[in-house]
Amino acid sequence: MPKITYIEHNGKSHTVEVAKELTVMEGAVQNNIPGIDADCGGSCACATCHVYVDEKWFNKLPKIESAEEDMLDVAFEPNKFSRLGCQITITEELDGLVVKMPSKQA
């Protein structure tokens, strides 16, 4: 299974195996990793699974769609590496992906 690393805002790092087809958000929620709220449950409607994708990985992700870009407008402190965890589906190619969480989700 692909390994994903989640880094909390305080620097605490969690590396977990996440099954393919799950999303970055689900990987965090199922492993009780703090820092991702996912209030809407993954329907790209709330921006509380906001992550900063590691620079080296950002361009390897499938391109962001406009619905996600719209939601990022209301995310907490977005930057150019911002994505929503619920919109990143884990694939074999993403083995080793690193994402950081913002200081809070809202």
Partner: protein, 340 residues
């Protein structure tokens, strides 16, 4: 003081449907919601998104689902108390007393919490000075637009609220619209008007910028904004308006002494009662082994919670299970006339 059999917290699909289930067994309900409209997440988050898993409705939208549910509870003439957030509860001899943010007081033997992920509140600026200036220069909604006349205003956001208010306030104030990217997600028509006003010198638009800090002692003097690339700019301003949509927060419910599991309330699946007698939780906010956060699960949970409410609301009566297809009592409550 408003007396009722059941106080329902949350006017989403589950909160509305439980009104019907209560009405059928002869119980009256009042509904409180912090939003200014009925429908909860269905209306606030995805009014136009199609939903495909409501039984017997192959496809509907958040809006049409809400409207259909409202049609279904029409016979029960229920009061909705909108723009009200529940604040405090206290135990009374025969139930609970609940006070809202608008100082309404309810007295009921039963409370059903159908509050989803919590009440909707505006998302706020992340900069620390924003709190100090809240309602004294920093605003997240506009109640009286004349307050802004001839003032210097910075509006943040890229949605309809930000665009609409920028266009409106630009008529009589010096407005700068700031957004984190070059595209606006609000209506194209509004974005076009805003760009046109910018060309005519009636509105300033700063993209892609985000706020860094707010300056001032007793009142706001100016703000600092910057791009992702680190380009910094300072703007003199009197007011800062943020339109970043809404966020859901559990709020005061967390202080009611209910058992909580993260942001959800554990319940007994026979009655959907919480650890407090007479307080029930249904829909996305409740949790139990196997819980699914589906609207259809919330309907089932409401049906059972309603029966449990009957015992506390009518302690001296016996509840009878009846079908709407055949029961004359239920037909009477529904207002249907049947020739037979």
């Amino acid at each position: 003081m408003i007396k009722t059999d059941v106080l329902i917290i949350g006017a989403g699909p589950v909160g509305i449907f439980v009104v019907q289930q209560l009405g059928l067994i002869g119980l009256k309900a009042e509904v409180v919601d912090n939003l200014d409209k009925i429908g909860g997440q269905c209306i606030e988050l995805y009014p136009d998104k199609p939903i495909y898993d409501i039984p017997a409705l192959p496809e509907c939208t958040g809006e049409s689902l809400t409207n259909n549910l409202l049609e279904q509870i029409k016979p029960f003439k229920t009061n909705f108390h909108l723009n009200e957030r529940v604040q405090e509860i206290s135990k009374e001899q025969n139930g609970w007393k609940v006070a809202t943010s608008g100082n309404k007081i309810f007295s009921a033997p039963n409370i059903i919490i159908a509050a989803g992920v919590g009440s909707f509140e505006p998302r706020k600026f992340s900069v620390k000075e924003a709190e100090k200036f809240e309602n004294n220069g920093v605003f997240y909604s506009i109640k009286d637009k004349t307050y802004f006349k001839n003032k210097k205003i910075c509006i943040f956001g890229g949605g309809d609220s930000a665009l609409d208010w920028a266009i409106e306030l630009a008529k009589f104030a010096e407005v700068t619209l700031v957004h984190r990217r070059n595209e606006f997600r609000g209506a194209e028509h509004s974005a076009t008007i805003a760009r046109k006003l910018e060309k005519e010198g009636k509105l300033k638009i700063k993209t892609p910028y985000q706020i860094v800090s707010i300056e001032g002692e007793d009142k706001i003097k100016g703000i600092t904004i910057k791009t992702d690339e680190g380009k910094i700019e300072k703007i003199d301003t009197d007011c800062v308006l943020g339109f970043f949509g809404l966020i859901m927060k559990l709020g005061p419910i967390t202080e009611w002494g209910l058992n909580l599991d993260k942001k959800t309330i554990p319940v007994n699946t026979e009655t959907f009662q919480t650890n407090k007698e007479g307080i029930f939780a249904i829909g996305d906010i409740c949790t139990y082994p196997g819980k699914l956060k589906l609207i259809l699960s919330g309907f089932h949970e409401g049906a059972l919670a309603a029966r449990a409410c009957f015992k506390l609301a009518r302690p001296n009566e016996k509840y009878r299970f009846e079908f709407t297809t055949t029961s004359k009592t239920l037909h009477g409550r529904l207002g249907v006339k049947k020739d037979d």
